[in-house]
């Protein structure tokens, strides 16, 4: 599938040395706790909550770790999950792998998301869900808290259940797509 070239005004996005493109209208809380792997695109009105960090974990902990070639769609929310563990309330870090697409309006409170994952629009990924590599989550899916989504599966529905499996070529396909997407996201003068 051929992706269209998307152009944006250079003044609308901040580009970092490693090629991350972050829209200025995003809400980034606790920037020092967020790690972007590079070449990640963050679209307008995203919310990334790096400020909800673990108490007692020392300084400069990575609360939100996002890999390379990711795309966070318009209005998506990435926030760390919380739980009470041994009587203490804490938020815990969230890790997102490489080549991950998160659709528009999706809310992610997972514990970890693997690489080569596609999450559709308006999904909710529950607290402490674990999504393994090479997974597709269809639009409007609700992944219940603490769910483990295994590799090469397609989930849909509310609550999200397994509906299909992905071909072995998924890794190459998603990798090529995300690189293509980044290459075609070009600044207009």
């Amino acid at each position: 599938m051929e992706l269209p070239v998307i152009t944006y005004k250079r003044s609308e996005y901040i580009e970092t040395d490693t090629g991350n493109k972050i829209h200025r209208q995003c809400l980034i809380g606790g920037g020092q706790n967020i790690m972007l792997g590079g070449k990640t695109i963050i679209q307008p009105n995203c919310v990334i909550r790096g400020d909800l960090c673990r108490i007692g974990a020392g300084h400069s902990v990575v609360v939100v770790g996002i890999g390379r070639y990711c795309l966070l769609g318009t209005g998506s929310v990435i926030r760390p999950p919380y739980k009470v563990y041994r009587g203490a309330f804490n938020y815990y870090p969230i890790k997102i792998g490489d080549h991950v697409v998160i659709g528009e309006g999706t809310i992610v409170e997972a514990a970890s998301i693997g690489s080569f994952v596609y999450i559709g629009k308006n999904c909710v990924i529950g607290r402490f869900a674990i999504i393994k590599d090479c997974v597709r989550i269809e639009d409007n899916t609700v992944i219940a808290p603490n769910t483990v989504v295994s590799s090469f599966s397609v989930y849909a529905g509310s609550p999200g259940v397994w509906v299909d499996e992905l071909p072995e070529s998924t890794q190459e396909v998603y990798e090529a797509q995300s690189k293509d997407q980044y290459a075609k996201f070009i600044a207009r003068e």
Binding site: G29, D51, I107, G157
Partner: protein, 169 residues
């Protein structure tokens, strides 16, 4: 942004990026995350004590009557509450919707992406869940209140470190 008749109780944390319009009163000990949105353009909104209101939550009053919200409610990311009255100790999970002139009792849970009907009255301990909007009655969960209290303690300690807070007059 108009801040006419904004009343904030002592000990409440209201982030600078939150949007408050119209006649809003926020009780003591409430925590409003950035990007939360409370719109009282028509009638006033009165929020009780110790509520947590997360990002992208919209609480809106479209009627002349005041929208009264009780104590210790949790509004998770993207919840939308219209309603006429909300009790205490309810949980509005992510992207849940309370629409019309609905009255919500106490200890209710509106599940992820679930919606109430227009102009209904939810009795105490109602749980709405799943894609088919199933309902059942639950026993009030006492551990939830302990979690909520600790959640508040955590947010009061952490939020002011990273976010700009609205000065409380």
């Amino acid at each position: 942004m108009t801040t006419r008749k904004l009343v904030v109780g002592p000990g409440a944390l209201v982030c600078q990026e939150s949007q408050l319009t119209g006649n809003v009163s926020i009780g003591s000990g409430c925590v409003l995350h950035p990007k939360s949105c409370i719109i009282a353009d028509v009638g006033p909104i009165v929020i009780g004590r110790n509520n947590i209101i997360e990002e992208n939550v919209v609480i809106i009053n479209r009627q002349k009557m005041p929208l009264i919200i009780g104590d210790e409610n949790l509004f998770e990311v993207g919840a939308y509450v219209e309603g006429a009255r909300v009790g205490s100790r309810n949980i509005f999970e992510s992207r849940s919707r309370v629409v019309g002139a609905t009255t919500v009792g106490n200890n209710c849970v509106i599940g992820i992406g679930c919606q109430t009907e227009v102009n209904e009255t939810l009795s105490d301990c109602t749980v709405i869940f799943g894609g088919q909007l199933d309902r059942r009655l639950a026993k009030p969960d006492l551990t939830q209140m302990a979690v909520h209290a600790r959640h508040l303690d955590y947010l009061r300690a952490t939020l002011p470190k990273f976010n700009r807070m609205r000065p409380i007059a």
